[in-house]
Amino acid sequence: MREPPELPPDAELVARLRARDDAAFGLVLDAWSGGMARVARSIVSTHASADEVVQDAWLAVIQGVSRFEGRSSLKTWVYRILVNTAKRRALREGRQISWSPVAGEDDTPTVDPARFGGPGDRFPGHWVAFPAPWPSPEQDMLAGEVLARVEAALAELPERQRVVITLRDLEGYGSDEVSSILEISAANQRVLLHRARAFVRGKLEEYFLASASEVGTEVSQ
């Protein structure tokens, strides 16, 4: 997670933007465009269209800053414009994105039920075998490979889950900010985040199990 560069407080920033102070605009452009591009990439189909979404969002910000009412932070407002711009773009690409969890998304198990004892077992509802511990980050010689697995897992998620996990865990926004950017309830965003994290964890588990068994094979040979 990246530390955002120090920016002036919102009141000062907004006043300077309205006064067409291009140094102030340069500051927010440089501070937020990277994160905006990552979020746009989680919604639209290509990096090129994500870049266009970011530019279109900034143009809308330039047009609209005189109407900014300060009900949210400036950054949240900018990100909301970004997300709405990206959604419209996705629609033109033929994909309709709804942030509401779909049927089954909030009540089906996120961990394979076979991992837990059934009603007739000695410990129903408890792990049949504990999850195998993962290598600690220092031990992990394949950090690049792990990141590639994470990226692949993110690409497999439904858009609405990918947007939420991108905002929460890549960009570091809190639950209230994400709810505010996406204009959904905190409970909704948590359902989406929960499924997304469980999915990515599952993919990492598969990867670590597979690489542990490869190492095991090498050792035994």
């Binding site: 990246r2 900034w58 991992r115 837990f116 408890h126 890549l170 948590r190 990515v200």
Partner: protein, 79 residues
């Protein structure tokens, strides 16, 4: 108050890490974790997953061309 099962706990992890559970449920989660190595490992792995996601954010920057075009649009008086 009944004890949580592991298959219930894994569905509460996100609310737990967000501090969004009611007091009673949060206590049941904490009690369960205190006595269950499997779930403790699971929650640690969710934390590791979050940390890995945090370090996976790709560096993306505006191209100079895009940056200059936006600054020019900003300087233009609106309307």
């Amino acid at each position: 108050m009944t004890d949580l099962n592991c298959d219930e706990l894994v569905e509460l992890v996100t609310g737990y890490l967000d501090g969004a559970l009611d007091d009673e449920t949060e206590r049941r989660v904490a009690d369960h974790l205190a006595g269950c190595d499997g779930c403790t490992t699971y929650v640690d792995q969710v934390r590791q997953t979050i940390a890995t996601l945090g370090s996976s954010a790709a560096d993306v920057e505006l191209t100079d061309e895009a940056r200059n075009a936006l600054l020019a649009a900003f300087r233009e008086p609106p309307g």
